[in-house]
Protein backbone atom coordinates (compact mmCIF):
# COMPACT_ATOMS: atom_id res chain seq x y z
CA UNK A 1 0.00 0.00 0.00
CA UNK A 2 1.40 3.39 -0.93
CA UNK A 3 2.47 5.65 1.93
CA UNK A 4 -0.04 8.41 1.22
CA UNK A 5 -2.84 5.86 1.13
CA UNK A 6 -1.78 4.72 4.60
CA UNK A 7 -1.71 8.30 5.91
CA UNK A 8 -5.16 8.98 4.46
CA UNK A 9 -6.43 5.83 6.12
CA UNK A 10 -4.88 6.84 9.44
CA UNK A 11 -6.41 10.32 9.33
CA UNK A 12 -9.77 8.75 8.55
CA UNK A 13 -9.38 6.52 11.58
CA UNK A 14 -8.52 9.49 13.79
CA UNK A 15 -11.61 11.34 12.54
CA UNK A 16 -13.80 8.31 13.10
CA UNK A 17 -12.61 7.81 16.69
CA UNK A 18 -12.13 11.33 17.94
CA UNK A 19 -12.15 10.79 21.68
CA UNK A 20 -9.88 7.78 21.65
CA UNK A 21 -7.52 9.52 19.29
CA UNK A 22 -7.47 12.58 21.49
CA UNK A 23 -6.42 10.53 24.49
CA UNK A 24 -3.74 8.78 22.55
CA UNK A 25 -2.17 11.95 21.23
CA UNK A 26 -2.40 13.89 24.47
CA UNK A 27 0.98 12.59 25.66
CA UNK A 28 2.83 13.75 22.57
CA UNK A 29 0.84 16.98 22.75
CA UNK A 30 1.86 17.80 26.32
CA UNK A 31 5.46 16.77 25.76
CA UNK A 32 5.85 19.01 22.75
CA UNK A 33 3.97 21.93 24.31
CA UNK A 34 6.29 21.67 27.25
CA UNK A 35 9.39 21.42 25.11
CA UNK A 36 8.54 24.45 23.00
CA UNK A 37 7.18 26.44 25.91
CA UNK A 38 10.18 25.91 28.17
CA UNK A 39 12.78 26.33 25.44
CA UNK A 40 11.07 29.53 24.40
CA UNK A 41 10.91 30.93 27.90
CA UNK A 42 14.49 30.00 28.76
CA UNK A 43 15.67 31.41 25.43
CA UNK A 44 13.70 34.55 26.13
CA UNK A 45 15.25 34.88 29.58
CA UNK A 46 18.65 34.27 28.08
CA UNK A 47 18.22 37.07 25.57
CA UNK A 48 16.74 39.23 28.26
CA UNK A 49 19.67 38.69 30.60
CA UNK A 50 22.22 39.33 27.90
CA UNK A 51 20.63 42.17 25.99
CA UNK A 52 18.53 44.01 28.52
CA UNK A 53 19.63 43.19 32.00
CA UNK A 54 23.37 42.93 31.57
CA UNK A 55 23.70 45.49 28.79
CA UNK A 56 21.49 48.15 30.31
CA UNK A 57 22.55 47.78 33.91
CA UNK A 58 26.22 47.00 33.45
CA UNK A 59 26.99 47.92 29.86
CA UNK A 60 28.87 46.05 27.19
CA UNK A 61 32.68 45.91 27.54
CA UNK A 62 32.32 47.97 30.66
CA UNK A 63 33.60 47.48 34.19
CA UNK A 64 33.08 49.40 37.37
CA UNK A 65 35.70 49.83 40.04
CA UNK A 66 34.13 49.74 43.51
CA UNK A 67 35.44 49.42 47.03
CA UNK A 68 33.24 46.33 47.42
CA UNK A 69 30.71 44.49 45.23
CA UNK A 70 27.34 46.24 45.09
CA UNK A 71 25.57 43.34 43.47
CA UNK A 72 25.87 39.98 45.17
CA UNK A 73 25.08 36.99 43.07
CA UNK A 74 24.97 33.42 44.19
CA UNK A 75 26.29 32.73 47.66
CA UNK A 76 25.87 35.12 50.56
CA UNK A 77 29.19 36.65 51.60
CA UNK A 78 30.56 35.45 54.93
CA UNK A 79 30.83 37.68 58.01
CA UNK A 80 34.61 37.90 57.73
CA UNK A 81 34.16 38.91 54.12
CA UNK A 82 31.76 41.66 55.12
CA UNK A 83 34.09 42.87 57.84
CA UNK A 84 37.00 42.95 55.41
CA UNK A 85 34.85 45.00 53.01
CA UNK A 86 34.07 47.55 55.68
CA UNK A 87 37.75 48.00 56.50
CA UNK A 88 38.59 48.86 52.89
CA UNK A 89 39.37 52.46 51.96
CA UNK A 90 36.62 54.14 49.96
CA UNK A 91 37.05 55.38 46.40
CA UNK A 92 37.52 59.14 46.19
CA UNK A 93 37.16 61.70 43.47
CA UNK A 94 40.95 61.93 43.52
CA UNK A 95 41.15 58.24 42.56
CA UNK A 96 38.95 58.97 39.55
CA UNK A 97 41.06 61.94 38.50
CA UNK A 98 44.21 59.90 38.97
CA UNK A 99 42.93 57.00 36.84
CA UNK A 100 41.45 59.28 34.18
CA UNK A 101 44.81 61.00 33.72
CA UNK A 102 46.95 57.84 33.92
CA UNK A 103 45.01 55.35 31.79
CA UNK A 104 46.61 55.58 28.35
CA UNK A 105 44.24 53.17 26.58
CA UNK A 106 41.47 54.22 24.23
CA UNK A 107 38.74 53.99 26.87
CA UNK A 108 36.07 56.22 28.40
CA UNK A 109 36.47 56.83 32.12
CA UNK A 110 33.68 58.18 34.26
CA UNK A 111 32.62 58.57 37.82
CA UNK A 112 29.21 57.69 39.23
CA UNK A 113 27.49 58.20 42.55
CA UNK A 114 23.84 58.14 43.34
CA UNK A 115 21.30 58.66 46.06
CA UNK A 116 17.58 59.30 46.43
CA UNK A 117 17.10 62.81 47.76
CA UNK A 118 13.77 64.58 47.61
CA UNK A 119 13.04 66.03 44.18
CA UNK A 120 10.61 68.92 44.01
CA UNK A 121 8.96 70.93 41.25
CA UNK A 122 6.37 73.46 42.40
CA UNK A 123 4.10 71.56 44.74
CA UNK A 124 4.94 68.13 43.34
CA UNK A 125 7.57 66.12 45.16
CA UNK A 126 9.04 62.65 44.98
CA UNK A 127 11.49 60.52 46.97
CA UNK A 128 11.76 57.71 44.48
CA UNK A 129 13.92 59.42 41.90
CA UNK A 130 17.55 58.46 41.57
CA UNK A 131 19.86 61.47 41.63
CA UNK A 132 23.23 60.82 40.00
CA UNK A 133 26.37 62.85 40.23
CA UNK A 134 28.51 61.98 37.24
CA UNK A 135 31.20 63.12 34.86
CA UNK A 136 30.20 64.26 31.35
CA UNK A 137 31.39 60.88 29.91
CA UNK A 138 28.50 59.16 31.73
CA UNK A 139 26.10 59.74 28.82
CA UNK A 140 28.38 58.01 26.36
CA UNK A 141 29.32 55.19 28.76
CA UNK A 142 25.71 54.42 29.68
CA UNK A 143 24.40 55.17 26.20
CA UNK A 144 21.89 57.71 27.37
CA UNK A 145 20.46 59.43 24.31
CA UNK A 146 18.87 62.82 24.52
CA UNK A 147 15.32 63.31 23.33
CA UNK A 148 15.23 67.03 23.93
CA UNK A 149 17.81 69.68 24.86
CA UNK A 150 21.44 68.65 25.49
CA UNK A 151 23.82 66.94 27.90
CA UNK A 152 26.19 68.91 30.09
CA UNK A 153 29.71 69.74 28.96
CA UNK A 154 33.17 69.35 30.46
CA UNK A 155 33.41 73.08 31.38
CA UNK A 156 30.06 72.78 33.18
CA UNK A 157 31.47 69.85 35.15
CA UNK A 158 34.64 71.77 35.93
CA UNK A 159 32.64 74.73 37.21
CA UNK A 160 30.14 72.59 39.10
CA UNK A 161 27.23 74.14 37.21
CA UNK A 162 23.77 73.42 38.63
CA UNK A 163 22.41 71.90 35.41
CA UNK A 164 20.55 68.61 35.15
CA UNK A 165 19.40 66.07 32.57
CA UNK A 166 16.19 64.33 33.58
CA UNK A 167 14.76 60.94 32.68
CA UNK A 168 11.63 60.73 30.52
CA UNK A 169 9.50 59.48 33.40
CA UNK A 170 10.58 62.41 35.56
CA UNK A 171 9.67 64.75 32.70
CA UNK A 172 6.24 63.13 32.39
CA UNK A 173 5.67 63.20 36.14
CA UNK A 174 6.50 66.85 36.79
CA UNK A 175 5.89 68.55 33.44
CA UNK A 176 2.97 66.67 31.94
CA UNK A 177 2.22 69.02 29.03
CA UNK A 178 4.95 71.58 29.54
CA UNK A 179 8.37 71.88 27.98
CA UNK A 180 10.79 71.07 30.85
CA UNK A 181 13.85 72.66 29.21
CA UNK A 182 14.99 75.75 31.10
CA UNK A 183 12.71 75.11 34.05
CA UNK A 184 13.88 74.66 37.60
CA UNK A 185 13.84 71.41 39.55
CA UNK A 186 14.97 71.15 43.18
CA UNK A 187 17.18 68.16 43.88
CA UNK A 188 17.96 67.63 47.58
CA UNK A 189 17.09 71.26 48.25
CA UNK A 190 19.33 72.64 45.52
CA UNK A 191 17.76 74.39 42.55
CA UNK A 192 18.84 73.00 39.20
CA UNK A 193 18.17 74.17 35.67
CA UNK A 194 16.94 71.42 33.33
CA UNK A 195 19.00 71.36 30.14
CA UNK A 196 17.99 68.00 28.66
CA UNK A 197 15.48 65.15 28.71
CA UNK A 198 16.75 61.61 28.06
CA UNK A 199 15.12 59.16 25.70
CA UNK A 200 13.20 56.40 27.40
CA UNK A 201 15.27 53.27 28.14
CA UNK A 202 12.35 51.07 29.13
CA UNK A 203 12.23 48.67 32.02
CA UNK A 204 14.29 45.83 33.46
CA UNK A 205 12.30 43.24 35.45
CA UNK A 206 9.51 45.76 35.63
CA UNK A 207 11.70 48.51 37.13
CA UNK A 208 11.77 51.75 35.19
CA UNK A 209 15.14 52.93 33.91
CA UNK A 210 13.80 56.43 33.32
CA UNK A 211 13.38 57.75 36.88
CA UNK A 212 16.57 59.72 37.26
CA UNK A 213 18.07 63.17 37.33
CA UNK A 214 21.71 63.46 36.28
CA UNK A 215 23.90 66.34 37.41
CA UNK A 216 27.67 67.06 37.33
CA UNK A 217 29.38 65.33 40.26
CA UNK A 218 30.97 68.64 41.06
CA UNK A 219 27.66 70.47 41.46
CA UNK A 220 25.70 71.09 44.67
CA UNK A 221 24.26 67.57 45.00
CA UNK A 222 27.74 66.24 45.75
CA UNK A 223 26.82 66.94 49.37
CA UNK A 224 24.05 64.38 49.08
CA UNK A 225 25.28 61.78 46.58
CA UNK A 226 29.02 61.82 47.16
CA UNK A 227 29.75 63.46 50.51
CA UNK A 228 33.37 63.78 51.57
CA UNK A 229 34.44 63.20 47.96
CA UNK A 230 33.55 59.51 48.24
CA UNK A 231 32.21 58.08 44.98
CA UNK A 232 30.20 54.91 44.36
CA UNK A 233 32.17 53.74 41.41
CA UNK A 234 34.60 54.55 38.66
CA UNK A 235 33.40 53.25 35.31
CA UNK A 236 35.57 52.28 32.37
CA UNK A 237 34.10 51.52 28.98
CA UNK A 238 36.27 49.97 26.28
CA UNK A 239 35.50 49.59 22.58
CA UNK A 240 36.10 45.81 22.65
CA UNK A 241 36.64 42.93 25.10
CA UNK A 242 40.43 42.86 24.61
CA UNK A 243 40.82 46.53 25.45
CA UNK A 244 38.51 46.06 28.39
CA UNK A 245 40.71 43.29 29.78
CA UNK A 246 43.82 45.36 29.25
CA UNK A 247 42.22 48.38 30.91
CA UNK A 248 41.18 46.28 33.85
CA UNK A 249 44.73 44.99 34.36
CA UNK A 250 46.08 48.53 34.09
CA UNK A 251 43.53 49.94 36.56
CA UNK A 252 44.34 47.13 38.99
CA UNK A 253 48.08 47.89 38.79
CA UNK A 254 47.57 51.63 39.10
CA UNK A 255 45.34 51.20 42.14
CA UNK A 256 47.71 48.74 43.84
CA UNK A 257 50.62 51.12 43.37
CA UNK A 258 48.51 54.08 44.53
CA UNK A 259 47.46 52.22 47.65
CA UNK A 260 50.91 50.80 48.28
CA UNK A 261 49.83 47.14 48.25
CA UNK A 262 52.70 44.67 48.42
CA UNK A 263 52.85 41.65 46.08
CA UNK A 264 50.84 38.82 47.65
CA UNK A 265 48.51 41.22 49.40
CA UNK A 266 44.98 40.96 48.01
CA UNK A 267 43.28 43.85 46.22
CA UNK A 268 41.29 46.07 48.53
CA UNK A 269 38.90 47.05 45.75
CA UNK A 270 36.57 45.18 43.41
CA UNK A 271 35.67 45.07 39.74
CA UNK A 272 32.08 44.63 38.73
CA UNK A 273 31.19 43.50 35.21
CA UNK A 274 28.23 42.11 33.34
CA UNK A 275 30.14 38.82 33.17
CA UNK A 276 29.50 38.11 36.84
CA UNK A 277 25.78 38.33 36.30
CA UNK A 278 25.93 36.48 33.03
CA UNK A 279 28.02 33.62 34.36
CA UNK A 280 25.54 33.19 37.19
CA UNK A 281 22.70 33.20 34.67
CA UNK A 282 24.58 30.70 32.50
CA UNK A 283 24.68 28.39 35.50
CA UNK A 284 20.91 28.60 35.94
CA UNK A 285 20.31 28.19 32.22
CA UNK A 286 22.53 25.10 32.20
CA UNK A 287 20.46 23.53 34.97
CA UNK A 288 17.24 24.34 33.14
CA UNK A 289 18.55 22.92 29.89
CA UNK A 290 19.72 19.74 31.64
CA UNK A 291 16.40 19.23 33.39
CA UNK A 292 14.39 19.98 30.28
CA UNK A 293 15.10 16.80 28.29
CA UNK A 294 14.25 14.72 31.35
CA UNK A 295 10.90 16.47 31.81
CA UNK A 296 10.04 16.34 28.12
CA UNK A 297 11.28 12.77 28.00
CA UNK A 298 8.94 11.68 30.77
CA UNK A 299 5.84 13.06 29.09
CA UNK A 300 6.89 11.61 25.74
CA UNK A 301 7.52 8.18 27.25
CA UNK A 302 4.10 8.29 28.90
CA UNK A 303 2.62 9.47 25.60
CA UNK A 304 4.36 6.62 23.81
CA UNK A 305 3.02 4.04 26.24
CA UNK A 306 -0.49 5.41 25.79
CA UNK A 307 -0.17 5.23 22.03
CA UNK A 308 1.21 1.69 22.25
CA UNK A 309 -1.75 0.61 24.35
CA UNK A 310 -4.28 2.28 22.10
CA UNK A 311 -2.65 0.64 19.10
CA UNK A 312 -2.64 -2.80 20.76
CA UNK A 313 -6.33 -2.28 21.43
CA UNK A 314 -6.86 -1.21 17.85
CA UNK A 315 -5.08 -4.31 16.58
CA UNK A 316 -7.30 -6.66 18.58
CA UNK A 317 -10.43 -4.67 17.74
CA UNK A 318 -9.56 -4.75 14.08
CA UNK A 319 -8.34 -8.33 13.89
CA UNK A 320 -11.08 -9.13 11.42
CA UNK A 321 -10.21 -6.12 9.28
CA UNK A 322 -6.61 -7.36 9.23
CA UNK A 323 -7.87 -10.79 8.14
CA UNK A 324 -9.93 -9.23 5.36
CA UNK A 325 -7.01 -7.16 4.15
CA UNK A 326 -4.75 -10.21 4.18
CA UNK A 327 -7.27 -12.27 2.23
CA UNK A 328 -7.30 -9.53 -0.38
CA UNK A 329 -3.54 -9.68 -0.81
CA UNK A 330 -2.09 -7.42 1.90
CA UNK A 331 1.43 -8.56 2.72
CA UNK A 332 2.92 -8.42 6.22
CA UNK A 333 4.70 -5.22 5.39
CA UNK A 334 1.45 -3.62 4.18
CA UNK A 335 -0.22 -4.30 7.51
CA UNK A 336 2.91 -3.29 9.41
CA UNK A 337 3.05 -0.04 7.52
CA UNK A 338 -0.65 0.66 8.02
CA UNK A 339 -0.45 0.43 11.81
CA UNK A 340 2.93 2.09 12.03
CA UNK A 341 1.69 5.03 9.98
CA UNK A 342 -1.41 5.19 12.13
CA UNK A 343 0.63 5.39 15.35
CA UNK A 344 2.99 7.90 13.80
CA UNK A 345 0.14 10.00 12.45
CA UNK A 346 -1.40 10.08 15.92
CA UNK A 347 1.79 11.25 17.57
CA UNK A 348 2.59 13.67 14.75
CA UNK A 349 -0.84 15.26 15.00
CA UNK A 350 -0.25 15.46 18.76
CA UNK A 351 3.13 17.07 18.17
CA UNK A 352 1.63 19.51 15.66
CA UNK A 353 -1.04 20.56 18.15
CA UNK A 354 1.72 20.77 20.76
CA UNK A 355 3.68 23.14 18.53
CA UNK A 356 0.62 25.34 18.11
CA UNK A 357 -0.07 25.43 21.84
CA UNK A 358 3.64 25.87 22.60
CA UNK A 359 3.69 28.93 20.35
CA UNK A 360 0.51 30.09 22.05
CA UNK A 361 2.23 29.70 25.41
CA UNK A 362 5.19 31.72 24.14
CA UNK A 363 2.86 34.47 22.90
CA UNK A 364 1.17 34.49 26.29
CA UNK A 365 4.52 34.88 28.05
CA UNK A 366 5.36 37.63 25.61
CA UNK A 367 2.16 39.49 26.33
CA UNK A 368 2.04 38.96 30.08
CA UNK A 369 5.69 39.39 31.10
CA UNK A 370 8.62 41.58 30.02
CA UNK A 371 10.46 38.48 28.76
CA UNK A 372 11.01 38.54 25.00
CA UNK A 373 9.80 35.00 24.20
CA UNK A 374 10.46 33.95 20.64
CA UNK A 375 9.95 30.40 19.44
CA UNK A 376 13.15 28.96 18.05
CA UNK A 377 12.97 27.04 14.81
CA UNK A 378 15.31 24.47 16.31
CA UNK A 379 12.86 23.53 19.04
CA UNK A 380 10.10 23.06 16.45
CA UNK A 381 12.33 20.78 14.38
CA UNK A 382 13.25 18.77 17.49
CA UNK A 383 9.57 18.59 18.45
CA UNK A 384 8.56 17.22 15.05
CA UNK A 385 11.30 14.60 15.16
CA UNK A 386 10.36 13.59 18.70
CA UNK A 387 6.69 13.38 17.74
CA UNK A 388 7.39 11.15 14.77
CA UNK A 389 9.93 9.14 16.76
CA UNK A 390 7.52 8.42 19.60
CA UNK A 391 4.94 7.21 17.09
CA UNK A 392 7.36 4.91 15.32
CA UNK A 393 8.82 3.48 18.53
CA UNK A 394 5.47 2.91 20.20
CA UNK A 395 3.87 1.65 16.98
CA UNK A 396 6.44 -1.02 16.12
CA UNK A 397 5.27 -3.65 18.58
CA UNK A 398 1.51 -3.41 17.94
CA UNK A 399 2.08 -3.16 14.19
CA UNK A 400 4.28 -6.24 14.09
CA UNK A 401 1.68 -8.13 16.11
CA UNK A 402 -0.91 -7.14 13.54
CA UNK A 403 1.34 -8.11 10.65
CA UNK A 404 2.02 -11.56 12.08
CA UNK A 405 -1.65 -12.46 12.55
CA UNK A 406 -2.69 -15.69 10.87
CA UNK A 407 -5.23 -14.80 8.15
CA UNK A 408 -7.46 -17.80 8.79
CA UNK A 409 -7.70 -17.10 12.52
CA UNK A 410 -8.11 -13.36 11.91
CA UNK A 411 -10.99 -13.93 9.49
CA UNK A 412 -12.75 -16.18 11.96
CA UNK A 413 -12.29 -13.64 14.80
CA UNK A 414 -15.52 -12.20 16.19
Amino acid sequence: MPFLEAVRLALGMIRAQKLKSFFSLVGAFIGVTFLIGVVTIVNGMDRYMKEDFAAKLFGVNTFTLRYRPFVNIGEEPSREQRREWWRRPRLKIADYEFLASHLDLDVLVGVESSSQPEVVVGNKRSRSIEARGVSESHFRIRKIDIAQGRVFTQPEVEHGANVVVIGSEVADKFFEHLDPIGRTIRVGDFPYRIIGVAKSQGKVFGISLDRFVIAPYTSQIKRVVNPHNVVDGIVVKAPDPATMAAARTEVEELMRVRRGLRPGQPDNFTFETADDVLSFWAKIARILYTALPALVGISLVVGGIVIMNIMLMAVSERTREIGIRKSLGARRRDILRQFLVEATTLSTVGAALGIVSGIGLAELVNAATPLPATVSLGSIVVAVFLGVGVGVVSGVYPASRAARLDPVAALRYE
Binding site: P2, M13, G329, D334
Partner: protein
Protein backbone atom coordinates in the same frame (compact mmCIF):
# COMPACT_ATOMS: atom_id res chain seq x y z
CA UNK B 1 -8.63 -32.14 -21.33
CA UNK B 2 -5.35 -30.40 -21.87
CA UNK B 3 -3.00 -30.25 -18.85
CA UNK B 4 -2.82 -26.46 -19.32
CA UNK B 5 -6.41 -26.12 -18.38
CA UNK B 6 -5.92 -27.60 -14.95
CA UNK B 7 -6.26 -24.68 -12.59
CA UNK B 8 -6.18 -26.46 -9.27
CA UNK B 9 -4.36 -29.70 -8.64
CA UNK B 10 -3.90 -31.20 -5.22
CA UNK B 11 -2.01 -34.40 -4.51
CA UNK B 12 -2.29 -36.09 -1.13
CA UNK B 13 -3.12 -32.80 0.58
CA UNK B 14 -3.17 -33.11 4.38
CA UNK B 15 -3.63 -30.65 7.18
CA UNK B 16 -3.17 -31.42 10.89
CA UNK B 17 -3.91 -29.19 13.82
CA UNK B 18 -2.46 -29.59 17.26
CA UNK B 19 -5.28 -29.33 19.80
CA UNK B 20 -3.38 -29.49 23.05
CA UNK B 21 -1.75 -32.89 23.18
CA UNK B 22 -4.01 -34.31 20.48
CA UNK B 23 -3.45 -33.96 16.76
CA UNK B 24 -6.57 -33.40 14.69
CA UNK B 25 -6.35 -34.63 11.10
CA UNK B 26 -8.66 -32.21 9.28
CA UNK B 27 -7.58 -33.36 5.83
CA UNK B 28 -6.23 -36.86 5.30
CA UNK B 29 -5.04 -36.75 1.72
CA UNK B 30 -7.15 -34.99 -0.87
CA UNK B 31 -6.46 -35.51 -4.59
CA UNK B 32 -8.46 -33.16 -6.75
CA UNK B 33 -8.23 -31.45 -10.14
CA UNK B 34 -10.32 -28.48 -11.09
CA UNK B 35 -10.20 -27.15 -14.63
CA UNK B 36 -10.60 -23.68 -15.96
CA UNK B 37 -14.25 -22.74 -16.42
CA UNK B 38 -15.61 -25.25 -13.93
CA UNK B 39 -18.26 -24.44 -11.35
CA UNK B 40 -17.66 -26.73 -8.39
CA UNK B 41 -19.54 -27.07 -5.13
CA UNK B 42 -17.67 -28.57 -2.18
CA UNK B 43 -20.10 -30.24 0.19
CA UNK B 44 -19.91 -32.15 3.40
CA UNK B 45 -21.13 -32.09 6.97
CA UNK B 46 -19.47 -29.83 9.50
CA UNK B 47 -16.10 -31.21 10.51
CA UNK B 48 -15.64 -32.89 7.16
CA UNK B 49 -12.68 -30.62 6.37
CA UNK B 50 -14.31 -28.50 3.68
CA UNK B 51 -13.39 -25.21 5.34
CA UNK B 52 -9.81 -26.39 5.84
CA UNK B 53 -9.68 -27.41 2.19
CA UNK B 54 -11.05 -24.00 1.20
CA UNK B 55 -8.39 -22.18 3.25
CA UNK B 56 -5.66 -24.22 1.59
CA UNK B 57 -7.04 -23.68 -1.90
CA UNK B 58 -7.40 -19.97 -1.08
CA UNK B 59 -3.74 -19.79 -0.02
CA UNK B 60 -4.76 -18.50 3.40
CA UNK B 61 -3.16 -21.55 4.98
CA UNK B 62 -0.36 -23.94 4.11
CA UNK B 63 -0.75 -27.74 4.05
CA UNK B 64 0.92 -30.12 6.51
CA UNK B 65 1.65 -32.50 3.67
CA UNK B 66 1.02 -33.09 0.01
CA UNK B 67 1.25 -30.71 -2.89
CA UNK B 68 -0.88 -28.02 -4.39
CA UNK B 69 -0.46 -26.46 -7.82
CA UNK B 70 -2.42 -23.35 -8.67
CA UNK B 71 -2.37 -22.37 -12.33
CA UNK B 72 0.70 -24.58 -12.84
CA UNK B 73 2.66 -23.08 -9.94
CA UNK B 74 3.34 -25.03 -6.79
CA UNK B 75 2.14 -22.91 -3.92
CA UNK B 76 2.37 -25.43 -1.05
CA UNK B 77 5.90 -24.27 -0.17
CA UNK B 78 5.50 -20.55 -0.66
CA UNK B 79 6.37 -17.83 1.86
CA UNK B 80 3.77 -15.58 3.46
CA UNK B 81 4.43 -12.71 1.11
CA UNK B 82 4.32 -14.90 -1.98
CA UNK B 83 1.00 -16.33 -0.82
CA UNK B 84 -0.31 -12.79 -0.31
CA UNK B 85 0.59 -12.03 -3.91
CA UNK B 86 -1.19 -15.16 -5.13
CA UNK B 87 -4.29 -14.25 -3.12
CA UNK B 88 -4.21 -10.81 -4.63
CA UNK B 89 -3.78 -11.86 -8.26
CA UNK B 90 -5.36 -15.30 -8.57
CA UNK B 91 -8.13 -15.56 -6.04
CA UNK B 92 -11.32 -13.67 -5.35
CA UNK B 93 -12.96 -14.48 -2.03
CA UNK B 94 -16.67 -14.30 -1.28
CA UNK B 95 -17.44 -14.97 2.38
CA UNK B 96 -20.55 -15.97 4.25
CA UNK B 97 -20.32 -12.84 6.43
CA UNK B 98 -19.40 -10.63 3.45
CA UNK B 99 -16.29 -9.33 5.26
CA UNK B 100 -16.54 -5.78 4.00
CA UNK B 101 -14.74 -2.98 5.83
CA UNK B 102 -17.57 -1.29 7.74
CA UNK B 103 -16.13 2.23 7.61
CA UNK B 104 -15.38 2.19 3.90
CA UNK B 105 -17.75 2.91 1.01
CA UNK B 106 -18.66 0.23 -1.52
CA UNK B 107 -16.27 1.79 -4.00
CA UNK B 108 -13.39 1.79 -1.52
CA UNK B 109 -14.11 -1.80 -0.48
CA UNK B 110 -13.94 -2.89 -4.09
CA UNK B 111 -10.77 -0.84 -4.65
CA UNK B 112 -8.92 -2.54 -1.77
CA UNK B 113 -7.43 -5.53 -3.63
CA UNK B 114 -6.28 -3.16 -6.38
CA UNK B 115 -4.53 -0.98 -3.80
CA UNK B 116 -2.57 -4.02 -2.61
CA UNK B 117 -1.95 -4.94 -6.24
CA UNK B 118 -0.25 -1.59 -6.77
CA UNK B 119 -2.74 -0.28 -9.33
CA UNK B 120 -2.68 3.50 -9.88
CA UNK B 121 -5.47 5.53 -8.27
CA UNK B 122 -7.27 6.54 -11.44
CA UNK B 123 -7.35 3.07 -12.96
CA UNK B 124 -8.34 1.65 -9.59
CA UNK B 125 -11.38 3.88 -9.37
CA UNK B 126 -12.48 3.08 -12.92
CA UNK B 127 -12.11 -0.67 -12.50
CA UNK B 128 -13.88 -0.68 -9.10
CA UNK B 129 -16.74 1.37 -10.53
CA UNK B 130 -16.93 -1.04 -13.50
CA UNK B 131 -17.09 -4.07 -11.18
CA UNK B 132 -19.86 -2.50 -9.10
CA UNK B 133 -21.78 -1.71 -12.27
CA UNK B 134 -21.41 -5.32 -13.39
CA UNK B 135 -23.15 -6.55 -10.21
CA UNK B 136 -25.89 -3.92 -10.57
CA UNK B 137 -24.75 -1.52 -7.84
CA UNK B 138 -23.76 1.49 -9.93
CA UNK B 139 -25.97 3.69 -7.75
CA UNK B 140 -24.59 2.42 -4.42
CA UNK B 141 -20.91 3.29 -4.78
CA UNK B 142 -20.85 5.88 -2.03
CA UNK B 143 -22.80 3.76 0.46
CA UNK B 144 -21.23 2.08 3.44
CA UNK B 145 -22.04 -1.59 4.21
CA UNK B 146 -24.42 -0.61 7.02
CA UNK B 147 -26.53 1.29 4.48
CA UNK B 148 -26.93 -1.74 2.23
CA UNK B 149 -29.12 -4.84 2.37
CA UNK B 150 -27.58 -8.30 2.82
CA UNK B 151 -27.92 -9.08 -0.86
CA UNK B 152 -26.36 -5.77 -1.82
CA UNK B 153 -23.47 -6.37 0.57
CA UNK B 154 -22.79 -9.75 -0.98
CA UNK B 155 -22.87 -8.13 -4.42
CA UNK B 156 -20.25 -5.63 -3.25
CA UNK B 157 -18.19 -8.58 -2.04
CA UNK B 158 -18.58 -10.29 -5.42
CA UNK B 159 -17.53 -7.07 -7.18
CA UNK B 160 -14.48 -6.96 -4.91
CA UNK B 161 -13.67 -10.58 -5.79
CA UNK B 162 -14.04 -9.91 -9.52
CA UNK B 163 -12.21 -6.62 -9.76
CA UNK B 164 -8.74 -8.19 -9.99
CA UNK B 165 -9.92 -10.61 -12.72
CA UNK B 166 -8.81 -13.63 -10.67
CA UNK B 167 -8.39 -17.18 -11.92
CA UNK B 168 -10.87 -18.49 -9.37
CA UNK B 169 -13.72 -17.19 -7.30
CA UNK B 170 -13.71 -18.95 -3.92
CA UNK B 171 -17.07 -18.67 -2.21
CA UNK B 172 -17.42 -19.88 1.38
CA UNK B 173 -21.11 -20.40 2.19
CA UNK B 174 -21.95 -17.29 0.15
CA UNK B 175 -25.69 -17.51 0.91
CA UNK B 176 -25.39 -18.59 4.54
CA UNK B 177 -26.52 -15.20 5.84
CA UNK B 178 -29.16 -14.48 3.19
CA UNK B 179 -32.86 -15.31 2.83
CA UNK B 180 -33.86 -17.76 0.13
CA UNK B 181 -34.98 -15.16 -2.40
CA UNK B 182 -31.77 -13.14 -2.07
CA UNK B 183 -29.82 -16.40 -2.18
CA UNK B 184 -31.38 -17.17 -5.56
CA UNK B 185 -30.36 -13.75 -6.85
CA UNK B 186 -26.77 -14.27 -5.73
CA UNK B 187 -26.73 -17.73 -7.28
CA UNK B 188 -27.95 -16.19 -10.52
CA UNK B 189 -24.95 -13.84 -10.46
CA UNK B 190 -22.59 -16.82 -10.03
CA UNK B 191 -24.26 -18.84 -12.76
CA UNK B 192 -24.07 -15.91 -15.13
CA UNK B 193 -20.40 -15.34 -14.37
CA UNK B 194 -19.69 -18.99 -15.10
CA UNK B 195 -21.88 -19.25 -18.21
CA UNK B 196 -21.08 -15.98 -19.90
CA UNK B 197 -17.49 -15.32 -18.86
CA UNK B 198 -16.27 -18.84 -18.16
CA UNK B 199 -15.32 -17.75 -14.63
CA UNK B 200 -14.02 -20.66 -12.54
CA UNK B 201 -15.97 -20.87 -9.30
CA UNK B 202 -15.36 -23.05 -6.27
CA UNK B 203 -18.09 -22.81 -3.67
CA UNK B 204 -18.30 -24.38 -0.22
CA UNK B 205 -21.84 -25.03 0.96
CA UNK B 206 -23.83 -27.47 3.03
CA UNK B 207 -27.15 -26.64 1.36
CA UNK B 208 -28.19 -29.02 -1.39
CA UNK B 209 -30.37 -26.53 -3.25
CA UNK B 210 -27.42 -24.11 -3.41
CA UNK B 211 -25.04 -26.86 -4.52
CA UNK B 212 -27.58 -27.69 -7.23
CA UNK B 213 -26.49 -24.56 -9.11
CA UNK B 214 -22.97 -25.93 -9.59
CA UNK B 215 -21.97 -28.23 -12.44
CA UNK B 216 -19.88 -30.52 -10.31
CA UNK B 217 -20.30 -31.51 -6.69
CA UNK B 218 -17.39 -32.79 -4.60
CA UNK B 219 -18.31 -34.22 -1.21
CA UNK B 220 -15.83 -34.46 1.64
CA UNK B 221 -16.17 -36.82 4.54
CA UNK B 222 -13.72 -37.09 7.45
CA UNK B 223 -11.02 -35.33 5.51
CA UNK B 224 -11.21 -37.35 2.32
CA UNK B 225 -13.29 -37.10 -0.87
CA UNK B 226 -16.27 -39.44 -0.62
CA UNK B 227 -17.91 -38.55 -3.92
CA UNK B 228 -17.21 -36.44 -7.01
CA UNK B 229 -19.91 -36.13 -9.66
CA UNK B 230 -20.89 -33.93 -12.56
CA UNK B 231 -24.44 -32.68 -12.67
CA UNK B 232 -26.59 -30.72 -15.08
CA UNK B 233 -28.33 -27.67 -13.78
Amino acid sequence: MNENHVLIRTVGLTRNYAMGAEVVHALRGVDLEIHRGEYVAIMGPSGSGKSTFMNLVGCLDTPSGGQYWLNGVEVSQMSDDELARIRNREIGFVFQTFNLLPRATSLHNVELPLIYGGVAAKERRDRAAGALEAVGLADRMGHKPAELSGGQRQRVAIARALVTEPSIILADEPTGNLDSQTSEEIMKVFTELNDRHGQTIVMVTHEHDIAAHAKRVVTLHDGVISSDRQQTA
